[in-house]
């Protein structure tokens, strides 16, 4: 079903903003065009496209995308570009193009990305697994709000894609565990096709692959037993509409495991050609139907749930939601990310009270001096996470602990944070102390100019925030900020003696003062 046309609430201030998301998947190239109504924030889907391509097949079989497939993709993307031109969607800020495992795993992915850019002007964003988790969770959130009964205990979200399967374990809607497994419907189909033997043996073979993933999942989650299984992906949406004789709408749709099993058995007995003809699906989609649904079925049986809850949510919808938030994260997502960062901090025995306090203070400074730094709001999220994790390097050694923090952050999993963001968080944390950012520093020099500037600004704020909690006692909770001439005055009413903090700030403020051209002071109003 479509989102309803946004209702008029008096005179709209601005016309809706048109956006598009292109998802370069393992077996198809999909595009969603939508309108975002700036006054209400409502999203209206306008048009969706899907074209079958064999990126995943190439990538999983040969390790690279064949030239013919690249050209097929270029052809399809050129057509998509024309459609966007028709809607006058020209600004790159209006368009997001992401590629998942099919491209990610190809050895010639850079050639692919460059060729697409040259031919169509589309810039493909690197989109890694952690970001996929964030977007998947975002896709689930509307159901959390609407059908909370399914999220009051433990639930598992399973999305089976062409190349990978993504799992999110939720406890009262909070993410407890997230992982991506190299178990995809297209990969499984490849196993079946490559097997030189009877069909039932090929089936056994892919079942063993799925079972192995289930074992891995059990191990990682300490044999969690979620009560509900929420299924996502085009294969399971097809199954739901087939079994319920209606397309999946805006609520979770139940399908009984018995009915699903019958359908899966029926599908596995037919060739992809027969399936394509019978169900009017493309051949690549027909190929993945059986393995994709079998994966869902086996997980359901393992969890001993009687029904599958099918969510009509996909990567593109969730990304459009993010675009509606100006690419920032919603509070719900940020909460999940912070939870994950705190878990990471605990793993490395961080001082949670101090880190949280520094994070809070840093964000306060960010908000107060917006007029000075002029950074988009998404950088506030980075600052918060860098502040939380800035001292985890202590776990390794007190010596060069900021550098240890950097590589620990870089090489850990934080829910919802992609490698690009993760690197920025690591860099900000790295500069919480020591020498200011320098082009001689590895990592910093490789950043884009705007990111280098942002890292420096954020690090300067982190240094100030850390100085304010120099005693690690969280003494200062109330602050006031005022710009007087060329001097930014921070005042507090919490404590009378600020000697320790002022001494710390004298060193810590250096970077801040250089970057913003203002002096910084910390005073108290307590006599």
């Amino acid at each position: 079903m479509l989102d309803p046309m946004p209702k008029k609430t008096g005179e709209s201030v601005l016309p809706p903003r048109m956006v598009a998301v292109i998802d370069i998947g393992a077996s198809s190239l999909r595009m969603q065009v939508a309108e975002i109504h700036s006054d209400t924030g409502a999203i209206r889907k306008i048009e969706s496209f899907s074209q079958a391509v064999s990126i995943g097949q190439d990538s999983f079989d040969d390790g690279k995308i064949n030239r013919a497939t690249i050209e097929d993709c270029v052809h399809v993307l050129s057509i998509y570009r024309q459609r966007l031109d028709e809607y006058r969607i020209f600004d790159p800020e209006q368009i997001r193009v992401v590629a998942t495992s099919g491209v990610r795993e190809a050895s010639n992915r850079m050639v692919f990305i460059d060729r697409v850019y040259i031919a169509t002007g589309f810039e493909i964003e690197p989109f890694d697994e952690a970001e996929l988790h964030r977007v998947t969770y975002l896709g689930i959130l509307p159901f959390v709000e609407k059908q909370s009964k399914y999220f009051s205990s433990t639930s598992l979200v399973l999305e089976v894609g062409g190349g990978t399967s993504e799992l999110l374990l939720l406890e009262q809607a909070d993410v407890m565990f997230s992982n991506t497994y190299r178990l995809g419907s297209l990969r499984l189909r490849h196993v079946m096709d490559q097997f030189n033997g009877p069909a039932d043996k090929a089936l056994e073979l892919i079942k063993s692959h799925i079972e192995q993933t289930i074992v891995d999942f059990q191990f990682s989650t300490k044999h969690a037993k979620p009560r509900h299984l929420i299924a996502m992906g085009s294969d399971v949406r097809f199954a739901a509409s087939e079994l319920n004789q209606a397309p999946v709408g805006e609520e979770l749709v139940e399908i009984k495991i018995n009915a699903l099993e019958k359908l899966v058995n029926k599908i596995l007995q037919q060739s992809p050609d027969q399936l394509a003809a019978k169900y009017h699906v493309s051949l690549p989609d027909a190929k993945t139907l059986g393995p994709g649904l079998l994966t869902q079925l086996m997980f359901a049986k393992h969890l001993q749930v009687k029904k599958l809850l099918v969510a009509n949510s996909n990567l593109r919808d969730a990304m459009i939601q993010e675009m509606a938030q100006e690419r920032s994260w919603t509070d719900s997502i940020q909460n999940q990310i912070v939870r994950s960062a705190v878990q990471l901090g605990r793993k490395f025995k961080f001082n949670e009270e101090h880190a949280t306090h520094v994070g809070r203070t840093a964000c306060w400074i960010f908000d107060e001096i917006q007029f000075l730094h002029r950074l988009p709001v998404r950088y506030r999220r980075i600052l918060e996470l860098a502040s939380l994790l800035h001292e985890i390097g202590n776990f390794i050694s007190d010596k060069s602990k900021h550098k240890h923090s950097m590589y620990l952050i870089r090489n850990s999993d934080i829910f919802g944070i992609g490698s690009q963001y993760q690197n920025l968080i690591a860099m900000v944390a790295r500069y919480y102390r020591g020498a200011p950012p320098s082009m001689r520093h590895d990592g910093y020099a490789q950043l884009e100019r705007h990111d280098r500037v942002a890292v420096a600004k954020l690090a300067s704020m982190l240094r100030v925030a850390k100085a304010i909690d120099a005693g690690h006692h969280q003494r200062i909770n109330k602050l006031n900020c005022e710009l007087r001439g060329n001097r930014l005055e921070l005042t507090t009413t919490d404590v009378a003696d600020l000697t320790l903090e002022q001494v710390e700030l004298r060193n810590a403020a250096e970077l801040f003062e250089e970057l913003f051209g203002t002096e910084l002071s910390l005073e108290t109003t307590v006599n």
């Binding site: 479509l2 046309m5 008029k8 016309p15 889907k45 306008i46 048009e47 809607y87 509409s241």
Partner: protein
């Protein structure tokens, strides 16, 4: 027609019964005389297409020795035998009908003149015209004892002249330029090849003659299609005419030494029109279609119509040379090619012999000043031809000129010769809008026109798609995408009939204008699918063949069956052109058994047998053949009181549901729904033009109770359209426009 335990009627024989019902219109004084002539011409034209397509197809099946029976249990060979028998009766009926009509026309001063009745002055006038117009156009073809099959074009009236063989006289014959002798010595006929394998040559003795010294020679005079069939003769009152074949026979001496002419008879060949493009991976469909059209000109002969006066010798010669099965030779009393009588039916000056005019009614307030604003307020519906087609043209024109419109997407199946809609699409492209047209090149017998339009549109910058590989795009839809202040909005015209302004004056069809959000979204996805931009996506409100139209129909029937089984009221009413799909028929039988009241208004083919106890006693089938061609497909399902109404481009035939791209659209607006239900009911109240199908396959006039008023659905629909027009006009009149003082006067 019905055999014991028969569950389905044969489709071909059912079609022939439909043609008989059309012929019956020519035989009833319910229609004015010239309209009856038109009905007679329609039957001939219909029969031509039937032979080209259906008989042609059956022959291909029979020749391939495929013995799989159809749903009625008949093999192709058995069907051909039954068709020949029924068509022979029909020829007789047509001839008798023409005789009767000619007699009646004569009483009104419309007279066919025989050559012997001409005055000398008339004869001289005709001779002059013959010499100036015809001699150079008839292209005599001297036929040797065999003929290369491909050189005789189908669907053309010809005169075959048998001449006594005399070399000396032949040499002295006054043959016009272009005279040519054809011989098939190097190209033996297909039939002779097939039947007499090993024959040394195609040059064989014909009808017992010695090939080396033939007794007779034959010459074919092909009457050019540019030549008028009816030659007007001077008269003070009324209309006198002579047929061109009579003129040609009269002046044979212009070609031959009269002493050599033995006989001259008219004939007509029908070629297999079931020649379709084999859609391989070729990229140039346009070129392929042009080649296919050429190929159709020389395909197998499926019918030879020959004047009954022809001698056995001539008939045998023609059978052999044209390579036609003797069973497919029809000896006809009177003139051939009765489709030409459309021209006679259209002569001016006899208003009493024509129908009273039913001009299409305008819909003054349908759109008001702003087409898009009007559709935004509520769905709009028209029932053509009682209501004018102009608003449809206006819709496309408005879209072409509107600066806010960013795209127009249009299907075209059979456009008219001078299509305003196509011109508007070209204008839109010129205005920089993104225009996509799906021009179905495979629309049978309209291929050439569609190729022409496709080229024109392409030149104008329209993105032309030549339909879908392996499927004919029969859906009727125009989608307009507009950028408005509140965002993108789509306006859709959906119809049961083609975008053809000419046929829209004769065909009954529904037009629906809507901007329903979900229908708009479905329409976009439907277009993306058929233009190859995207794989088909789930359609929510629209149903499309061959994706989910059949499933939606079956589901709708199933709901009625379930309702009936639960003891609830259940009803299905459908107006369609043909019903031949086994799956749908079986579902309707099941519905009948469950107690669903099924009312079917099927204009043409109906393979369902109604009124059979234990099978279909709850099914009633009527057929309305009247002044306007019934063409609208409207379906109504009671759906527990939440009436579901649909309009569709699809008939209930396998080809429509499985092998064509079709659409079925729900009608959601309450007013439109009520009107459609009323329209459906009118036909079932008809006791003038409606006939009811009986279990034995015959159609009987609907029983009329004594003193019951005569109800003619089409007349009723016309009156309703007039009333709507008047109501709209009156409403408009109540909007007062005041005169204001001009600024100059201040």
């Amino acid at each position: 027609m019905k055999k014991p335990k028969q569950t389905y009627f044969n489709r071909e024989l059912s079609w022939l019964e439909f043609n008989q019902r059309v012929l019956d219109q020519a035989d009833t004084d319910r229609h004015p005389l010239l309209e009856r002539v038109k009905f007679l011409a329609i039957t001939a034209s219909n029969l031509d297409e039937f032979f080209m397509v259906r008989v042609g197809g059956l022959k291909l099946v029979a020749n391939a020795s495929i013995e799989t029976p159809d749903i009625s249990g008949m093999t192709a060979e058995q069907q051909l035998t039954s068709i020949r028998e029924r068509v022979s009766q029909m020829y007789l009926a047509q001839s008798q009908c023409l005789t009767k009509l000619s007699e009646e026309l004569e009483t009104h001063g419309i007279l066919r003149v025989n050559p012997q009745d001409l005055t000398e002055s008339e004869r001289q006038t005709l001779l002059e015209r013959f010499k100036s117009e015809t001699v150079s156009a008839v292209a005599p073809i001297a036929v040797d004892n065999a003929i290369q099959l491909s050189l005789l074009r189908g669907a053309r009236l010809m005169v075959c002249v048998r001449l006594k063989w005399s070399e000396e006289k032949m040499l002295r014959a006054k043959m016009p330029p272009g005279f040519e002798t054809l011989s098939a010595e190097a190209a033996p006929t297909k039939r002779s090849n097939k039947k007499s394998k090993g024959a040394s040559s195609g040059k064989k003795a014909v009808a017992g003659q010695d090939s080396s010294t033939p007794e007779f020679r034959y010459v074919l005079l092909a009457l050019g299609q540019s030549q008028s069939r009816f030659w007007t003769l001077p008269v003070e009152q009324g209309y006198r005419y002579i047929l061109i074949e009579d003129v040609v026979k009269m002046f044979l001496s212009e070609f031959f030494d009269p002493s050599t002419v033995v006989e001259a008879n008219t004939l007509r060949i029908t070629r297999n029109g079931d020649v379709e493009l084999v859609e391989d991976k070729r990229s140039d469909l346009l070129l392929g279609m042009e080649q296919m059209l050429e190929a159709r000109q020389s395909s197998d002969c499926v019918r030879l119509e020959l004047e009954r006066t022809a001698s056995r010798t001539m008939r045998k010669f023609l059978e052999k040379t044209i390579d036609v099965d003797p069973a497919d030779v029809y000896l006809v009393d009177g003139p051939l090619e009765l489709a030409d009588y459309f021209a006679l039916a259209g002569i001016n000056g006899f208003p009493k012999l024509n129908d009273e005019p039913w001009p299409p009614q305008e819909a003054p307030d349908l759109f008001g000043k702003d087409v898009f604003k009007a559709i935004s307020k509520s769905d709009r519906m028209l029932y053509h031809p009682y209501q004018s087609y102009d608003p449809v043209v206006e819709f496309v024109k408005a879209a072409a000129k509107d600066p806010e419109v960013i795209a127009i997407k249009q299907t075209l199946y059979r456009a008219s010769k001078d299509s305003e809609i196509i011109k508007s699409l070209m204008t839109a492209a010129d205005e920089g809008k993104n225009v996509t047209a799906i021009v179905e090149l495979k629309a049978r017998f309209d291929e050439a026109r569609n190729i022409y339009w496709a080229k024109q549109l392409e030149q104008a910058g329209v993105d032309v798609i030549y339909g879908v590989r392996g499927l004919k795009t029969h859906a009727k839809m125009c989608l307009v995408v507009r950028r408005e202040r509140t965002g993108i909005k789509r306006y859709i015209h959906l119809a049961t009939g083609n975008y053809n302004e000419s046929t829209a004056r004769l065909y009954s069809d529904v037009s629906l204008f809507t901007c329903d959000e979900q229908i708009g979204s479905d329409a976009v996805h439907f277009f993306n699918a058929i233009t190859g931009l995207s794989v088909p996506q789930t359609l929510v409100k629209l149903s499309a063949a061959p994706i989910n139209l059949r499933e939606t129909l079956m589901e709708s029937i199933r709901i009625e069956i379930d309702a009936a089984n639960s003891g609830d009221q259940a009803e299905i009413t459908a107006k369609i052109n043909s019903l031949a799909d086994k799956g749908i028929i079986d579902a309707l039988y099941e519905a009948s058994k469950a107690g669903v009241k099924v009312r079917l208004n099927v204009r043409g083919i109906c393979c369902l047998i109604p009124g059979v106890k234990g099978l279909s006693e709850n099914i009633k089938v009527i057929s309305v053949v009247d002044r306007m061609l019934e063409h609208a497909r409207i379906f109504h399902f009671r759906h527990g009181g939440d009436e579901k109404l649909f309009i569709s481009s699809a008939d209930w035939m396998g080809r429509n549901l499985d092998r064509r791209v079709e659409l079925m659209t729900p009608v959601l607006d309450q007013d439109c729904k009520l009107r459609l239900m009323r329209i459906l009911d009118y036909y079932f109240q008809d006791n003038v033009a409606s006939t009811e199908l009986r279990p034995d396959g015959s159609y009987a006039a609907v029983a009329r109770k004594k003193k019951k008023e005569l109800i003619r659905a089409q007349s009723h629909l016309h009156r309703e359209a007039v009333q709507i027009f008047e109501a709209m006009s009156n409403r408009r009149a109540t909007v007062f426009e005041t005169y204001k003082a001009s600024t100059d006067a201040k």
